[in-house]
């Protein structure tokens, strides 16, 4: 009975994961510099660290308004002016499909099926920003967002006055997660 249940759970989650982690090809291929403008619409995002007044791993919506990067979450908004950004870097990451409380509980699933569930991961993009406040103090913020949405955000921020140390064109064939800040200073 337990075996059957475990198999059903694993199969179901695998199907769910494959649908989440592998976006359709047309979605990936459609992302280019030409449709940057389309990506200005709010995108679901998670602020991992670094935003003032925002707790770590807070979920919200990221968009660009009036030359500012806005993170909207539970009735409050945090803004970073694009002109204050010294560095905008994108990267790739992944996260568990089943996470949080349910993910923790899955560790106690029978026949070590919890371990199998942790192999199911969905890909996501990361957006790392370094910016200065009014006193000149350096801040950093890390966001995660759905696959393919970070680069258009970066391009739009650069268009609105942000700076970057790593340009997309130079690194088209490089794994973005291994991009190192400060290599190519402008």
């Amino acid at each position: 009975m337990l075996k059957t249940l475990s198999v059903i759970v694993i199969c179901g989650t695998a199907m769910m994961a494959s649908s989440q982690s592998a976006p359709p090809n047309e979605t990936r291929s459609s992302i280019s510099a030409t449709n940057v403008r389309q990506q200005q619409r709010p995108t679901k995002s998670t602020a991992i660290i670094g935003l003032d007044g925002v707790r770590e791993k807070t979920q919200g919506t990221l968009n660009i308004e009036d030359e500012k990067l806005c993170f909207v979450h539970s009735e409050s908004t945090s803004q970073i002016p694009a002109a204050a950004m010294e560095d905008v870097i994108t990267g790739e990451d992944s996260q568990r499909v089943i996470r949080g409380t349910l993910g923790t509980l899955s560790m106690f699933a029978p026949y070590e099926s919890g371990r199998a569930l942790s192999m199911l991961r969905s890909k996501l993009d990361s957006l790392t920003i370094q910016y200065r406040d009014n006193d000149g103090g350096l801040h950093g913020a890390v966001f995660t967002m759905p696959v393919g949405t970070a680069e258009p955000f970066k391009q739009e921020l650069i268009a609105q006055g942000a700076h970057t140390t790593i340009h997309a064109a130079k690194n088209a064939n490089v794994d973005p997660f291994s991009q190192v800040a400060g290599r190519e200073k402008q």
Binding site: I48, I49, G50, D87, I89, G91, D93, S94, Q95, R96, R115, A116, S118, M119, R121, S126, T128, I129, Q130, R132, D133, D135, G136, G137, L138, H139, G140, A141, V142, F177, S178, Q179, V180, A181, G182
Partner: protein
């Protein structure tokens, strides 16, 4: 009778070692603390070792957060903060990545023992005029649970403990 003396001698030696160990350790810890009124955290440098930008930023932000909690007797300034210019007894914290091994969260969760992520950062505390006050390597690790970025939190906790152990409020 001979056995009794042997056992008694061994017991005495063991007892002395047990008592002396913590005392010696405490004496070592009882070094005079450096007086400071504020600490300015410089951005993490990683010229020789490749560290993802997200890690660099997370280390910097976690360090500032943890210093605010564990070393609350010091005012913490960020890199480039103009307000820190005229602060007396200002200490600068320079951090350089000296080792980084990016593990795998998936591997950790599946095997429990493999896939650890670790980072070693050389922390150098200097005065404004460049005099080195303290130098130490601090490492951060995530072995079992959590994502790779958790290594930055572990490092920040240890680095702020180092600050609270070695620095005291001036005046």
């Amino acid at each position: 009778m001979t056995n009794f003396f042997r056992i008694a001698t061994c017991s005495c030696l063991f007892g002395m070692m047990s008592l002396a160990g913590p005392r010696l350790h405490a004496e070592g810890k009882h070094m005079e603390k450096v007086r400071a009124s504020a600490l300015k955290v410089e951005m993490i440098q990683s010229d020789e070792i490749s560290v993802p930008a997200a890690f660099q930023v997370a280390i910097y932000e976690n360090l500032i957060q943890q210093l605010g909690k564990k070393a609350s007797f010091l005012h913490v300034y960020r890199d480039g903060d103009r307000d820190a210019a005229n602060i007396p007894n200002l200490v600068l914290l320079h951090t350089t990545v000296s080792g980084f091994k990016k593990g795998s969260e998936r591997m950790r969760q599946v095997t429990t023992i493999a896939g650890a992520t670790s980072i070693t950062i050389h922390c150098r505390f200097t005065s404004v005029d460049g005099k080195v006050l303290l130098e130490k390597d601090v490492n951060g690790k995530v072995r079992f649970f959590g994502d790779n970025l958790k290594v930055t939190y572990d490092f920040a906790k240890k680095a702020s403990a180092l600050v609270s152990d070695n620095f005291a409020a001036a005046g």
